[in-house]
């Protein structure tokens, strides 16, 4: 119990250091540049205290649950017994299909349930004047994230170079930017950051690192990271693509009317 309390106090102290810069920024600029007192000092201080406690509990929970869960899934889905191949035989990338399906499901489910994506989708519907539907956008982002994560795990399994995929993705984004409706570009770019929430990031990271240690011939140092990059690039492609298709359908239905 005492050990745990010391550990907790140390974490709390460390987190104090972590939130210090943002507190100094907000309070400092408020008092020195805007020169007004804080509007609700009591409420604000209690709020900062909540943030502090929240980060400590969250990080502790990550170590106990989300990180182990990600690596557990990676190990269980890659054991030779589960794959059903004899030990001495080399395993081809096709045998890992459950890994890809798992990664795609995690990406699809978390993106679809992401609250900030809902807000972005509603805004996009507003900007486009109804050409883009909020639901269509959410589904396309969810498919984008799911596909991105599946491709990312495929990359870890085969050990191919990360930058080939990402730079290839950049080129697609730039080509799409050329043809997509101008109104939607800023929002589409930002949707990449929206899908990587506080809960998804640790789980997906642990999954990638776990896979890289479990698949023979892979090194976590070289192959373990990169899944988050896929998860934040593919939504951009999906949103731009959906906007283009929606615009095209809209034009066609307009021109077909007499």
């Amino acid at each position: 119990m005492i050990d745990w309390l010391i550990h907790f106090a140390l974490k709390l102290l460390e987190t104090c250091r972590d939130i210090l810069p943002i507190v100094v920024t907000i309070v400092g600029f408020q008092l020195l540049v805007i020169r007004k007192p804080l509007p609700h000092p009591r409420k604000t201080i209690i709020g900062f205290f909540y943030v502090l406690l929240g980060i400590v509990f969250f990080l502790e929970g990550l170590d106990l649950a989300l990180f182990p869960l990600g690596s557990l899934m990676a190990t269980q889905l890659t054991t030779p017994e589960f794959l059903g191949v004899p030990l001495e035989q080399a395993i081809s990338w096709q045998s890992y299909s459950w890994v890809y399906i798992f990664a795609a499901s995690i990406g699809f489910a978390t993106a679809l349930a992401e609250p900030s994506l809902l807000a972005v989708a509603l805004r996009a519907e507003q900007i486009s004047g109804g050409t883009i539907r909020a639901w269509g956008l959410r589904i396309s982002v969810a498919i984008g994230v799911g596909f991105g994560l599946a491709l990312g795990t495929f990359r870890i399994v085969t050990g191919s170079e990360l930058y080939l995929f990402i730079i290839g993705g950049y080129i697609i984004v730039l080509l799409q930017t050329r043809f997509a409706p101008k109104m939607i570009i800023g929002l589409a770019y930002d949707s990449g950051g929206v899908t990587t929430s506080m809960v998804t990031v640790p789980l997906v990271t642990a999954l990638g690192l776990g896979l890289a240690s479990a698949v023979p011939g892979r090194n976590p140092l070289l192959d373990g990271f990169g899944l988050i990059a896929f998860a934040s690039l593919f939504p951009i492609i999906a949103v731009l693509g959906y906007a283009q298709i929606a615009q095209w359908l809209n034009r066609r239905s307009l021109s077909s009317k007499p």
Partner: protein, 242 residues
């Protein structure tokens, strides 16, 4: 549905985790069909995560967010360019340092680096590496927000800085050490999650509404993407230097 905001937030945090738990459960029951080790720890950890998220979001909503947003609007409406840019940089830097997902992943990256003999296998070396990584990311996010604000003021198209960042990344990748590339590419997505996105979006939309000739819908966005590309460039540079 719920009167008490705390209970409501607790439910919201549970909903954040629900899709992950559902997918994992389905796979465990239908596909893997093996006993899960340490179920007790997993359940305790999940409860910790839910409680932590709840306190964190609740705390942000009653301290940082209202002040940060009203300040973003205040700076956007009046005030000198210098103070606006200084505020933008500090906001980006501070938010990234406090980002919990970044804290967690930087520690993981330090573990991996020390297991791979990239750095010494001591706690001090690991802590130093993790902190160095986070400071690098935070500096780059501060700079990204600064440039993004300048873009909104000057009215440059959103894809100029993005194309520039893409080209930088493509040129730097072959020269960066192979061990840093993965974490560098990931760092952008990791650091644009809970604190950075709402504050930065408020700043962008506030600026675009208050400047004549800017449309809050089209010009207000684009700060987040820049904040998620800049860390990649900086972390690769950090890898080359260290």
């Amino acid at each position: 549905m719920f009167k008490n905001p705390f209970i409501k937030q607790l439910f919201g945090s549970f909903l954040d985790l629900a899709p992950i738990l559902a997918v994992v459960l389905v796979f465990q029951v239908l596909v893997i069909r093996q006993p899960i080790p340490d179920v007790g720890n997993l359940i305790a950890g999940t409860l910790f995560v839910i409680l932590g998220l709840t306190l964190f979001i609740q705390g942000l909503e009653q301290s940082l967010f209202p002040i940060g947003e009203s300040m973003a609007y205040a700076f956007a409406r009046k005030g000198s360019l210098f103070w606006l840019l200084a505020f933008a940089f500090c906001l980006g830097f501070g938010a990234a340092v406090a980002e919990p997902a970044l804290i967690a992943v930087a520690e993981k990256a330090a573990d991996i680096a020390s297991n791979g003999n990239l750095i010494e296998q001591t706690d001090a070396a690991k802590a130093g590496y993790a902190l160095g990584l986070r400071i690098t990311v935070a500096l780059s996010i501060g700079l990204a927000i600064l440039v993004g604000v300048l873009r909104i003021i000057r009215g440059w198209p959103v894809y100029y800085p993005v194309i520039f960042a893409y080209v930088c990344i493509a040129i730097m990748t072959p020269f960066a050490p192979a061990e840093i590339i993965g974490i560098a590419y990931d760092s952008g997505g990791i650091s644009t999650s809970s604190i950075t996105v709402p504050l930065v979006t408020a700043l962008g939309v506030g600026l675009a509404t208050s400047i004549k000739g800017r449309n809050s819908m089209t010009d207000g966005f684009g700060l987040v993407v820049f904040a998620s590309l800049m860390p990649t460039i900086f972390v690769m540079a950090y890898g080359m230097v260290i």
